[in-house]
Each structure stands twice: as structure tokens, then as C-alpha cells.
């Protein structure tokens, strides 16, 4: 099977080395992550998967610069990640759009921080509004949009700021199945067109198998990387293919063998 990653540059864009994270919950230490190592190469599509409480969102937030590490190091291009920055665009499950700005203004928010002139902002926002198919809604406010449309704005906003890494925290988790499928496909299109690196947190096995080059399986208590699994499927992938089903089953077994809790009814 041909590996599309082999043709891309192999330098790690994000390097997580020996990272542990301890939260202080009312004086009680909570070990969210323990000794996590993860190298992400430029252009890769990585899915972090695991049951809730496995620290996958914490790991993503560390990459985003929203949480400091307790021990170990998180680096981007060898420079320690210390704060959020425009090179690492974050897409939140609850969108995080500015409700007082229109779709266009939300998308132009990042470029505006760099002090670009109004004409250039207009140009950028036009381009990305159309890229996510919201041309007719450019002057709407977020609360006039559906969940799927809000998430498109959120993605466009990160892209419009020329991010190199797109960090996505269960971005499609709150959407209906139909919208989710469409957005997954659009995300793959965008990823194919740009040289973007994507780190995508999910707990849906099918989503991970459909999207990822590599699936990083995490387990809870304390959160650590259990397996780093390369999806052995060509793109474009089809969820009804027998091979797809095999991979999905394999990954599901990998996950469920680590879930110690009794099965839900």
C-alpha cells in the first residue's frame, strides 16, 4: 500500500517528549498525562482517540499552548510551546466564535491582529468564506447559523490566519450525522489542498479511520499513549469497504480492551 506521508518532509513539526501533566483539584493531584511521547511530522493527519478522561484533550491543549506541561517538553520546530499562537490554529467543539462579529469579521480576526489593511482583510475573508461555502452568510452573526456552519467558520478562522497546525478538539462531536459526514469530507479536501498538519481529537472510531494517517490510542488513569497505529488504507477511503471495516474492527478491539468499565447497557 502506498504511503502518502513518505513523500512529505519527515522533520517533526510537533515534538512531545516525556510529557506529564498533573492538575490540582482542590489540593488533590490528578494525573491527566504520564510520560507521553509523540512526534508529529509536517503534513500528517493525526487522530487522538480514547475514552473520556484519557487526557487526549489535555494533550491537544498542551500543543495549543493553553496548558503548561508539568514535566517533559512540548516543542514546535524545536522551540518550546509556551503560549497560544497563530501558527497553531485551534478548533473548539463549542466553536468559540465571537458572537458580536459577523462571519466575515470572525474570519478576519486573526489577520486583523497582524495589522493588515482593510482591503487585504476583505480579500482574505472573502477567500475563506467561500472556501467553506458560506458566501451567502458572510454578514450573518454566529447565532444566526447552524452548528455545522459555525464549525465551518471556526475552521476558516484558523486557516485564514495561516496556521501550520490545525488542532481540533472533537470538532464534529456536537453535529448531526449528516452534517458531520459533509464536514469530514470538506476537512479532508482542505487538508489535501493545503500542506496543513492536523491533530484531531475524537472518540469515534469510524471518524478516526476515515480521517487519520496515524491514530494515537490513549488510555486513562493516568493518560498515556497505548498504541500509535498507522491506518493501512489508501485515500479516498470509503466507510462501506470491507477493508475499512476490518481496520475499524481492529481499532475498536484495541480500544475496548483498555476500557475496564463494564459495558453500557
Amino acid at each position: 500500500m502506498s504511503d502518502p506521508i513518505a513523500t512529505r518532509t519527515p522533520a517533526p513539526i510537533i515534538d512531545i517528549a516525556g510529557v506529564s501533566k498533573v492538575f490540582n483539584l482542590n489540593g488533590r493531584p490528578i494525573h491527566a498525562l504520564k510520560d507521553v511521547d509523540l512526534k508529529i511530522r509536517k503534513g500528517e493527519f493525526i487522530c487522538l482517540i480514547g475514552a473520556s478522561g484519557c487526557g487526549k484533550s489535555t494533550l491537544l491543549r498542551i500543543m495549543g499552548g493553553f496548558e503548561p506541561v508539568s514535566t517533559g517538553s512540548a516543542r514546535m520546530y524545536h522551540a518550546p510551546i509556551q503560549a497560544p499562537g497563530p501558527e497553531r490554529g485551534m478548533v473548539f467543539q463549542d466553536y468559540g466564535l465571537f458572537p458580536w462579529l459577523t462571519v466575515r469579521e470572525n474570519i478576519a480576526f486573526g489577520p486583523k491582529q497582524r495589522g493588515l489593511p482593510a482591503a487585504r482583510l476583505r480579500e482574505i475573508s472573502d477567500r475563506f468564506v467561500n472556501m467553506v461555502g458560506l458566501g451567502k452568510f458572510a454578514d450573518h452573526f454566529p447565532n444566526q447559523l447552524s452548528g455545522g456552519m459555525k464549525q465551518r467558520v471556526s475552521i476558516a478562522r484558523a486557516l485564514a490566519n495561516d496556521c501550520e497546525v490545525l488542532l481540533m478538539d472533537e470538532p464534529f462531536g456536537a453535529l448531526d450525522a449528516l452534517t458531520r459526514e459533509v464536514l469530514q469530507q470538506e476537512l479532508l479536501d482542505i487538508w489535501a489542498k493545503t500542506k496543513l498538519t492536523v491533530v484531531f481529537v475524537t472518540h469515534a472510531v469510524e471518524e478516526a479511520v476515515l480521517l487519520a494517517d496515524r491514530v494515537v490510542v490513549m488510555t486513562a488513569g493516568p493518560g498515556r499513549v497505548e498504541r500509535d497505529y498507522r491506518i493501512p488504507l489508501d485515500r479516498p477511503r470509503c466507510i462501506t469497504d470491507p477493508e475499512f471495516n476490518l481496520v475499524r474492527r481492529e481499532l475498536t478491539e484495541m480500544l475496548s480492551s483498555h476500557v475496564s468499565l463494564p459495558k453500557a447497557a
Partner: protein, 301 residues
């Protein structure tokens, strides 16, 4: 993107069922008509007539109550209307109150809006600081919460000592009354900005003072407006008390004079003018609110 058109349609209409036999499909289509909205007359009625029904009913009740009880202490609406006319233009009673309404009104407006503007100018920045900075909050908040329940009328003697007999004492009282709701609502607005928005802004390269202007201020604006509306109401509310401090002119002063002279028609005229002016200003604030906060359906009043 080819798929996006399809998706945005999916938001508008539920996914269609598989096609039914033609006859059925046709009836289904003809049933799909826009329900009729309210007619022009109905809209006109609900916009202009419904809101004045209750005031008219109260006016009528007042009139009937005066007639039935035969009281001499409370004037009927007609007498108040005459007084209002004389108060504004003269020519009926030609006494000390005739033609003085304009002066009283302007004086009171200057004091109310001046004190209100001062209160807003002091309370909004202060609320922003208290809301944003935990240390400042710990220093200032207990004092603020202690001063807040003290009735403004209790400040009357002290304000006359501080500012002497005259308009400044009145302005101080109105200022004090309007200050607290504005500062408390602004603080609340700043404190309740979602953390997510700060994260999103930081991720997009927004920092420091720019964050304040671009995130904190717009996010807190709905609460600031709530504070302004409350403060404005209280400002008018307090003008009568404020003008008890011995100022010669002002609606409050006129009302106090009317009380001394048992001129209930003057008292009620003053009340009507204050109520009406407060109402009009509140409408203006609401219009400004709706214009600035059109993004937030919860705050469109």
C-alpha cells in the same frame, strides 16, 4: 466546494423522504404554503394601540375615583391637564408656577443627565477594572457592597455638608444612585466573559490591551447596557430627593413647593413630566442598545 451547497440546504429543510406516488406528492406540495402572517391592521394595533390601553384605563379609573369619592385633596385628570398647560404656557392661573415648567424641566434634565453621565464615566471603567483584576476586586468589592445598601436619601444631610445647599448636592445624590447599578453590572459582564473567547483570541494572535478592547468590552456590553438602563431609571427616581436640598428650580423643587402649598395638581404635573421624560430617554437607550447589540437576540429588548 461542491458539497457545501448541499449541506447548507440540509440545514434549511429536513431530508426528503423517498418519492411517494405522484398524486400524493402533489397534494403534499400544494399544502406546503406559507402561513399567513398578521395583517397590517393587526400589527398597527399591537404596536400603537395595545401599549396605551392600560394608561388610558388608569386615567379613567383615576377620574372615576375622584368623582365618586368627591375628594377635594386629589385633582381630577382634567385639572392636572389644565395645570400642565398653565405650567408650560401660562394664561390660565397666572400664578408663581405659570410658564415655569420649561425652566424646571431644563434644570432637572441638566442635573439628571449630567449626574448620569458622570456616574457612567466613573462606573464603567471602574467596573471593567474590578471585573478583570482579581486583586482590585478584593480591595474594592467589600467596600462597594457595604455602601450599596445604604439608601441614597440617607446621604442627604452629608451631601449638603459636602456640597452646600444647591444643585451640586442634588447632582451628587443622583450620581451616587446611578453609580452602583452601572458598576455592578459592568463588573458582572466582565467576569462572565467565556474563557473560551479569551482562548480563541489568544490563539489568533490577540494580546494584552488589544484583548481588552476586542474581547472584554464587546462581550461585556450587554451587561453594561443593563446597568445603564437601571442607573438611568434611578437617576430620575432620585431627582426629587436631590432637589430637596434647597435648589430654587427643578422639577423636584417644583414638586416640593407644590407639596408645601398643598397644590396637588402641581405635584402630579411634575410626576407626569418626570415619568414621561424618563420614558422617552429609556426608549432612546433601548434603541441604542438594539443597534449596538443586534448580534445578541437575548439582549434585543
Amino acid at each position: 466546494m461542491s458539497t457545501s451547497a448541499l449541506d447548507s440546504r440540509a440545514h434549511a429543510v429536513p431530508p426528503a423522504k423517498p418519492a411517494q406516488p405522484t398524486a400524493e406528492a402533489q397534494t403534499a406540495q400544494s399544502e406546503f404554503v406559507m402561513p399567513a402572517g398578521p395583517g397590517a391592521l393587526q400589527r398597527w394595533l399591537s404596536r400603537w394601540v395595545v401599549p396605551v390601553l392600560l394608561p388610558l384605563a388608569l386615567l379613567l379609573a383615576w377620574d372615576l375615583a375622584v368623582r365618586w369619592t368627591g375628594t377635594m385633596l386629589v385633582p381630577a385628570p382634567r385639572e392636572v391637564a389644565l395645570m400642565l398647560w398653565d405650567f408650560a404656557f401660562g394664561g390660565i392661573y397666572d400664578d408663581a408656577f405659570s410658564e415655569t415648567l420649561g425652566t424646571h424641566w431644563l434644570q432637572s434634565m441638566a442635573r439628571v443627565y449630567g449626574a448620569f453621565a458622570l456616574a457612567a464615566a466613573a462606573a464603567i471603567p471602574m467596573g471593567l477594572l474590578i471585573g478583570k483584576n482579581a486583586t482590585i476586586r478584593r480591595v474594592v468589592d467589600p467596600t462597594l457592597q457595604m455602601l450599596r445598601p445604604v439608601p441614597v436619601t440617607a446621604w442627604l444631610p452629608l451631601s449638603m455638608i459636602f456640597f452646600g445647599v444647591g444643585p451640586n448636592a442634588a447632582i451628587f445624590l443622583v450620581f451616587l444612585g446611578a453609580f452602583f447599578p452601572i458598576v455592578i453590572n459592568t463588573t458582572f459582564g466582565v467576569k462572565s466573559v467565556e474563557t473560551r473567547l479569551f482562548e480563541a483570541a489568544a490563539m489568533l494572535g490577540c494580546t494584552g490591551t488589544s484583548m481588552f478592547r476586542q474581547v472584554v468590552l464587546p462581550a461585556a456590553l450587554p451587561s453594561i447596557f443593563n446597568g445603564l438602563r437601571l442607573g438611568h431609571g434611578i437617576a430620575w427616581f432620585l431627582i426629587v430627593v436631590g432637589e430637596m436640598t434647597g435648589v430654587p428650580e427643578g422639577l423636584g423643587a417644583a414638586i416640593m413647593d407644590g407639596r408645601m402649598l398643598s397644590r396637588t395638581d402641581v405635584v402630579i404635573s411634575g410626576m407626569v413630566v418626570i415619568g414621561f421624560t424618563g420614558f422617552v430617554t429609556d426608549r432612546l437607550l433601548v434603541a441604542l442598545n438594539n443597534r449596538l447589540l443586534k448580534w445578541s437576540p437575548q439582549h434585543n429588548v
